[in-house]
């Protein structure tokens, strides 16, 4: 189970209150990656399509950031494995708006 924390605007858009819990997230070769988490998130909440990353290129929107385990993963490869704590559900994968763009 993957825990995802969304910023307030996206929680409103997806009609969720607390954190999102995604089951059965797997990427290529079984690895849990930024891409596989976002794929699963957008499949469950299609209204989020295009709000976190470009619908076609998959590129992260400029003023969106990804954090986990007190690390900034925004510029990591979308296909890099996420930290074990995120994969184990101990730590959330955090999506947030940067300190700009509002």
């Amino acid at each position: 189970m993957i825990r995802v924390l969304l910023p307030a605007h996206l929680k409103n858009l997806a009609h969720v209150t607390g954190e999102v819990r995604l089951e059965g997230v797997t990427g290529p070769a079984g690895a849990v990656t930024q891409r596989s988490v976002l794929d699963a998130l957008e499949a469950r909440y299609p209204m989020l399509l295009g709000t976190i990353r470009d619908r076609h290129s998959g590129k992260r929107r400029a003023f969106v950031r990804f954090y986990a385990c007190e690390e900034d993963l925004s510029n990591e490869s979308p296909d890099a494995p996420l930290p074990e704590e995120v994969v184990a559900g101990k730590e959330p994968f955090i999506v947030l708006g940067a300190m700009a763009g509002g």
């Binding site: 605007h9 996206l10 295009g50 976190i52 003023f63 708006g97 763009g101």
Partner: protein, 371 residues
């Protein structure tokens, strides 16, 4: 007539203002989509409970919201605004080529006869069509790929397609305007486009007779005279009586002919309204006096309308989509300011009152008469 609904888009959300036909007491609802920029909020002419909103923001991009119950509830619909085919390039501010890049939807124009059909005008300039209530958007590529497209340059607000007029009598005729490319007309539903900028004079470009490159701010039309168009350009108020083939200046005695919105009286096709702004850099009314100017002669001769409007120390602007009329009798006129006030007149502009005074900066105003 049970009343009127005024749809207000602002920098930080949408507001819905309602009143009965007397338009004396108003209810203010909102903000909807708090924190988001609502460039445009509008309703279907054939189903006033069908509303569309363009919701955007720097963090999370573009969404389109739809309401089927007059704004009580909303649901996001499609936001896939892809450029079809080869993307191509236009000119950047510095004159270098730059690929088209979608940024936001400035204007939504619902069909006059089908609530599920709606057009969207985008930045960077492109025209989109949805025929399923906003779920799926298809670009009408002939406009962006017009042979003049590679020479289009953005205005200060971006390379935005901000005006869409669906001709009320001639099927397939569409007018659009793009800053700072100019005005265009299609007579075949968007399959081909003709620049209609003859007679425009723009000091900011070297060739006064250029086919494109004019910074058109807004165009309006009265449905009873579809071949007559009124335009507020960067500078100059213009008029065409031949569907845009030729334009002539009708700025007349205006204190400044710079401005953004222009509107036609709902029942008097030769009565038009503008809000002069001092200059291209001084985006506030001359002398700090907020004056709507009315011409009852289709231009050239203008009178200031001041009753109920601040006549000292007023330095707000009125943006291009922030003026609207209702079809009640007597007709109502509305406008919103960058200072967050929404003013209305229920007597053709003779007197004005504020409906609400402290909203975020107003981006758009539309008025609906409720059955």
């Amino acid at each position: 007539m049970t009343g009127v609904r005024v749809l207000v888009g602002t920098r930080k959300g949408a507001f819905v203002l309602t009143s009965d036909g007397g338009r004396g007491d108003w209810t203010v609802e909102g903000p909807h989509f708090g924190g988001w920029e609502i460039y445009h909020l509008t309703g279907s002419p054939v189903d006033p409970n069908r509303l569309y909103a363009s919701q955007s923001g720097g963090w999370f991009g573009q969404l389109i919201q739809r309401s089927d119950d007059g704004g009580k509830s909303w649901n996001p619909v499609g936001n896939d605004f892809a450029y079809a085919g080869e993307v191509g390039e236009h000119l950047w501010f510095d004159g270098t080529p730059r690929p088209w890049e979608f940024k936001r939807v400035w204007h939504l124009e619902p069909s006059r006869d089908d609530p599920d059909t709606v057009y969207a005008g985008a930045e960077d300039a492109a025209l989109y069509l949805s025929t399923d209530g906003g779920l799926k958007w298809t670009e009408l590529t002939a406009l962006r790929t017009h042979p003049t497209g590679p020479s289009w340059q953005p205005g200060a607000g971006g390379l935005c397609l901000h005006t869409i007029i669906l001709d009320p009598t001639r099927p397939g005729r569409i007018y659009t305007a793009i800053s700072a490319a100019g005005a265009f007309r299609s007579d075949d539903g968007g399959d081909s486009w003709l620049p209609i900028n003859k007679g425009l004079r723009s000091g900011e470009i070297p060739d006064q007779d250029a086919e494109v490159g004019h910074c058109v701010h807004h165009i309006t039309q009265h449905p009873s005279r579809p071949d007559t168009l009124f335009m507020q350009k960067h500078w100059d108020v213009m008029r065409s009586d031949d569907a845009g083939a030729n334009w002539r200046e009708v700025s007349g005695n205006l204190p400044s002919d710079f401005g953004f919105p222009i509107a036609v009286h709902p029942h008097e096709p030769e009565t038009i309204f503008v809000v002069p702004i001092k200059s291209d850099s001084e985006h506030y009314p001359p002398e700090g006096k907020l004056r709507v100017y009315r011409s009852r002669t289709g231009g050239d001769e203008w009178e200031p309308l001041t009753k109920g409007l601040p006549q000292s120390d007023c330095y707000v602007n009125v943006l291009r989509d922030a003026m609207a009329v209702d079809m009640l009798d007597p007709g109502g006129i509305y406008f919103g300011t960058t200072g967050g006030q929404v003013y209305h007149s229920a007597d053709g502009g003779d007197s004005w009152a504020s409906i609400v005074r402290d909203l975020p900066p107003v981006l758009s105003v539309e008025a609906q008469v409720l059955p």
